[in-house]
Amino acid sequence: MCGIAGVASLDGTPEPIERVVEALEAMRERGTEHGAGYAAYSPEPRGLVRARLFAAGPRDLEEAGRLLGPLLVEGPRLYRRLGHGVEVHEALLSDYPPPAAVGRRIWFLQASRFLEVWKSIGWPREVAEAYRLWGRSSPAVIGHTRYPTNSPGFQPWLAHPFTAGETVIVHNGDLSSYGANRRMISYSLGLSGFTGNDSEVIAYLVEMLYRDGLGPADIVDALVYGKGPAAARLDGPYAVIYIHGDPRGPIFSAFVDRHHFRPLYVARTETRIYVASEAAAVKEMAPGARPVMLRGGGYIVVYPDGEVEARGLTAWKEFGHPPPPPWALDASRMSRRELNQALAEMLARRGYAAAYNLRGHRYVANGLGPGRLELWGTVGNASLNLAEGLDVKIYGDAQEDLGDAMTDTRIVVYGNVGDSAGQAMRSGELHILGDAGNRLGVQMKGGVIVVRGDAGDYLAEFMAGGTIVALGRVGRYTATGMVGGKIYIRGHLPVSHIGKAPPRRQVERYIRALADRGEITREQMMKALAGQTVEELLEALGDKFRRLAKLWGVLHVGYPRAEYRYLRSEEQEELEEILRSHVKATGQPLDIEDTLNHKFTVITSVKVKPQDEGAW
């Protein structure tokens, strides 16, 4: 639950930890004063294990002395006082403490040769101050601001980051797999005590997998795609950034769950990779850099030698922006309330409002309209919701949930949009020149969306009405649960990316069983096995499809039917009108005639009526 941020150096030069503090402070909305923390790559000079632990009284120290005694080289000594009677003590050890020591009444902040971890109760800045982190720097830094949900918010050891050996993680999310992960860890490592915070298991899993010899990409395969030990698979929402300490330097990595339930944005400069939960926070660390999204199931790794490996990053694209008018509001010094109030007043007074330097301000212009609105910068989450009759231009990116339930509103985004843009929009237009996140147009009820760049997974999920035109690439599970409206995707979208189907293995097995029993002919079988879509199977199997259809479950409510073909004349007319309006609204040239002559994947919603005849 929370906001996370990190930075990795590509040339080995250190980055001030303060950079991450600023990124977290820019995401205060994601956190509370109930916990924050940092970790950095920082080898212990003599190669010893630097153990730091929380102590809330002399008994804790005695216990620690007893547990660590045999390994003790130096200390323990007081490292920091955190207030409320909690202190952090440091001991230098000759080796890692036994797992049994970890989490038995004593909570370790860390026990590592290459890492340092600082965490406590408080806002990010307060925690950085408590540990006197100003002026410190490292080639790899991560940080976390906490909005607690599955454990109390007043115990410092429940703050992030969480460490296990040479792995330290920050996590935004809540694991539904927690019980299974924990069980495996407790038996594999002989661990008995857990904090109860689900995030902790990720640190243990990553560390275990490194010890098993896996590399960062294999670890993503195991955790995200379930290709390792069964109980190592993570389920539920997660965005994770971690550092793994290695003698050669830090391995810095970030990954996101396959559904993209949690966002991560990435920016790359000559010498750095920046990662954070919000685009605005990335821009806080790297003002000139352009943040892009890390898609569901994607990851990025920075190796000790500065090599970068990534999967699922959206493209880096630049868009020209005109300068704001001289009378426009400078949002950089305004709170979101001040900004919204000023915009509302401007709209009421002159029907035209403008603001620049938006830094992730949320709820921008919600419920406003009619009128004309222009925005420069990064528009924060849940903006332009319930807008009515607005004509909007956004010169920059917009984060999650733009235009929710809007009516008669036209939005042009000269940049990227985050997840769930256009959710439940009733009418109006949404034009996106860059890329869109997941669930663009989810449960859209009417109006038009045009996306020039790429769209993520679950495009038009639950779509009930309106038209979506996607001119770039489109992700998986497109139009799943669609019950109305129409989607035009330029080019070919494979059947495997449309809707949701039962496992192919099971479908084929069932078709073969039908043939084995003589219920269908061999010809029918071959045809059905070659068929991919509901229509093809229906054609091959005829009435027998009725039985197979139950594996889909809701074909009678509606499912997406896709055709890859040239547009029909009435479709060309519809699309031409939309694209003309798009070019007019955006001012971005597009060869409309050429586009209309492309082949499209045209998706509509149809139903398979349940048939009542037959055996029953």
């Binding site: 539904s176 379930g226 109980a231 539920g236 339930f261």
Partner: protein, 692 residues
């Protein structure tokens, strides 16, 4: 040819009588009807029960039922009204006379006239009513004490409507179906309903299981703040009672919401998959104490309203919930009963005989005046009972009883449950209520159409409001609410394919008995494992619960049929022991653990897999189906079996999706997803007690 419309303006006999095992039995219905007629609840206090809800096993110390009745008799309604006792509560800027939030029943779920009656009664009696997700009925809009709902489908929402009413309620989930979305079929989206929901007539109205902008607590906080700033009104959050709900409440309070509605298991609904209603989420009496405690310990209790719902039937329930830590109660089913509901559980069909949940095509209408009068009178009765209880305890306001658990004594429960409640245990016993197996017939829609059974209304929590058959029944399945999103199995992928250590892949962890060749064929066609197929494997061995398999066995089959189901240890207990020992020995990943027993549905499969089994037989339901189908030819039997097996798969996915699980890989051994209503069962099966 307009059909003659029948006007409903009187009570008709309830369906169940006392024999139907459910919470809303004839006794409770009679009590509400009497209250709605004469303005006094009779009896005021029920005797402490040996089974049923914890609320029923709780006694309020110092209250003697007879004395209270005598006091009521002496004072009479007017006398009670004159008592200088305040049972009201401040709510979103108004003062309510009675701390009751009438549950969020939409126009569409109810047929219009009941919505009007509820809204008018709320104004008249000083309660508040949530309008549900269905747009704002123009007659309801005239009432003052209404709460607007912001739900996942955004139906009917616009910037004007949101600013009506006293407050806005973000509906995350409900007790009757935690983690499950909604679907109003196209044929019901007509006329006024379509117009108010702002949908084209004849379109399918889907409400996603999660809000697709709320996948975490910080997302919820974002929406709370957005709606608060947008409407200028207080914001409520409504969520089903889960084990994590206390933390959700704290997060909700920190976001600046005015309160949280926690809706417990057994709560009413227009339609819910039966399997979810019966097994997901926790009852409200388990949830409230911990929510209150966590709010207090995190310093956010004051000024935050905790509204408790789910099988709340009378003033004495409200008083006990307040003593456990709530501020007010949500009541839905009770209000429907006051308007004539007979508990026939067919709300989902649109053919409600009492004109409450009927589709508008049906030629029956509820008499608005009559219904308004009934609900108003009933609310007045609840207010009077509360006044009497508070008065008899020597206090002058209900608010002063909040969190006063020292006034409660718990009977016939165990220490662990008493500790959860923070209440003195007056008489030890067990929560679990075991009884004879109550075999329900397999509905036709299961074996004819592979459709998951859907029912209306709540009132069923196995082992709690109805008898349990075995310890497994006392386990509640966790749902995802707020901290992570539930997953809709029909639109998003939930992988139930199960891989054994040797690489064999089955399409479901559901084992099929070999009692009919047609059944085996059905299983093989779908890729489900069969009992005989597993037994034939050279590395397999079958043992009864309590016995160790020979060393080196790779497919360990524990079959309670080898011994008789009711001996000790229970099969579920033995699965837990074996799973533990294989983990301890470091061989868990090389062994497949198979539980063969008299299991009835996918909730059993879910629970056993979460306890540690790889594969589980649904032996009993399929055996019953075999008996039912005997006499039919093999083809028809096979098709019926196929449907039943496919349906079991959907049920399993529904339960997993409700908890935000997308793969059976993450379910196996995930005991964190289970909680026990009974302390002894919790220890036996190594899970926590519900509410933690």
């Amino acid at each position: 040819m307009a059909a003659r419309v029948r006007i409903v303006n009187r009570y008709i006999p309830p369906v169940g009588g006392l024999k139907a095992p459910e919470f809303w039995d004839a006794r409770r219905i009679a009590r509400i009807r009497a209250a709605a007629t004469i303005g006094l609840e009779k009896p005021l206090l029920s005797p402490v029960a040996r089974r049923g809800r914890l609320l029923d096993r709780l006694e309020i110390e110092g209250l003697r039922p007879r004395e209270l009745e005598a006091l009521a008799e002496k004072l009479g309604p007017q006398g009670i009204d004159r008592l200088d006792v305040d049972v009201g509560i401040g709510f979103a800027g108004v003062r309510l006379r009675v701390p009751v939030y009438l549950g969020d029943m939409s126009f569409g779920a109810l047929s219009g006239n009941p919505n009007i009656a509820l809204a008018r009664a709320a104004d008249a009696a000083g309660a508040v009513v949530g309008v549900g997700e269905g747009g704002l009925h123009p007659e309801v809009a005239k009432s003052r004490n209404i709460v607007i709902q912001w739900a996942s489908g955004r139906f009917g929402i616009d910037r004007y409507m949101l600013r009506r009413g006293l407050a806005v309620n973000i509906k995350i989930g409900q007790g009757a179906k935690p983690g499950i979305g909604g679907h109003l079929p196209a044929e019901k989206v007509t006329g006024e309903i379509a117009r108010l929901r702002k949908l084209p007539p004849g379109s399918e109205a889907l409400s996603p299981a999660p809000h697709h902008d709320i996948y975490s607590i910080e997302d919820l906080a974002q929406r709370v703040k957005m709606l608060a700033e947008f409407t200028g009104k207080p914001v409520l959050v409504k969520t089903a009672a889960t084990n994590q709900v206390g933390f959700v409440a704290v997060g909700t309070a920190r976001a600046g919401a005015m309160g949280i509605i926690v809706d417990g298991a057994g709560a009413g609904t227009g339609a819910t998959p039966k399997i979810v209603r019966d097994h997901v989420g926790v009852p409200i009496d388990y949830a409230v104490p911990r929510v209150h405690d966590l709010l207090v310990s995190n310093g956010v209790r004051e000024g935050f309203t905790l509204i408790a719902g789910g099988m709340v039937s009378a003033a004495e329930d409200i008083a006990k919930l307040v003593m456990l830590g709530a501020d007010m109660a949500m009541m839905g089913t009770a209000a429907l009963i006051a308007m004539g509901c007979i508990m026939c559980h067919i709300c989902n069909t649109g053919r409600c005989p009492t004109a409450l949940t009927n589709s508008l095509q049906q030629p029956v209408r509820l008499d608005v005046e009559w219904a308004t009068e009934r609900v108003t009178t009933w609310l007045r009765a609840v207010e009077r009972s509360l006044k009497l209880i508070v008065y008899a305890l020597g206090e002058d306001s209900l608010a002063r009883l909040r969190g006063r658990r020292s006034l409660l004594r718990l009977y016939n429960a165990d220490e662990a449950v008493a500790k959860l409640l923070g209440v003195e245990l007056a008489e030890p016993g067990e929560v679990a209520w075991y009884g004879d197996p109550h075999d329900e017939p397999i509905p036709r829609e299961v074996y004819e159409k592979a459709k998951t059974p859907v029912v209306g209304m709540g009132g069923v929590v196995p082992g709690y409001t109805t008898p349990a058959e075995r310890p497994l029944d006392l386990l509640r399945i966790e749902a995802a609410q707020v901290t992570r999103p539930p997953v809709d199995p029909y639109r998003e992928e939930i992988d139930i394919a199960t891989r054994l250590p040797d690489g064999t892949v089955y399409e479901a962890p559901i084992v099929v008995p070999c009692s009919d060749p047609a059944l085996v064929e059905a299983a093989e066609g779908l890729g489900y494992p069969t009992e005989c197929g597993l037994l034939e494997r050279p590395d397999a061995a079958a043992v009864p619960p309590g016995s160790e398999p020979p060393p080196g066995t790779r497919v360990v089959i524990v079959d309670e049929g080898l011994r008789g189901a009711r001996g000790k240890p229970w099969l579920e207990e033995w699965i837990v022991r074996l799973d533990d020992s294989y983990w301890r020995d470091g061989i868990r990943e090389t062994v497949a653990l198979v539980a063969l027993g008299g299991f009835r549905h996918s909730a059993d499969v879910y629970k056993l897999v979460a306890l540690g089994a790889d594969l589980v037989s649904a032996r009993r339901s399929l055996e019953r189906l075999r008996v039912k189908l005997s006499g039919l030819d093999a083809d028809r039997r096979r098709e019926a079996y196929e449907n039943a097996l496919i349906e079991l798969g959907w049920e399993l996915r529904l339960l997993m999706g409700a908890g935000g699980l997308t793969s059976v890989q993450s379910l196996r051994g995930n005991r964190w997803l289970l909680r026990s209503l009974d302390g002894r069962v919790a220890r036996m099966l190594e899970v926590d007690v519900a509410g933690y």
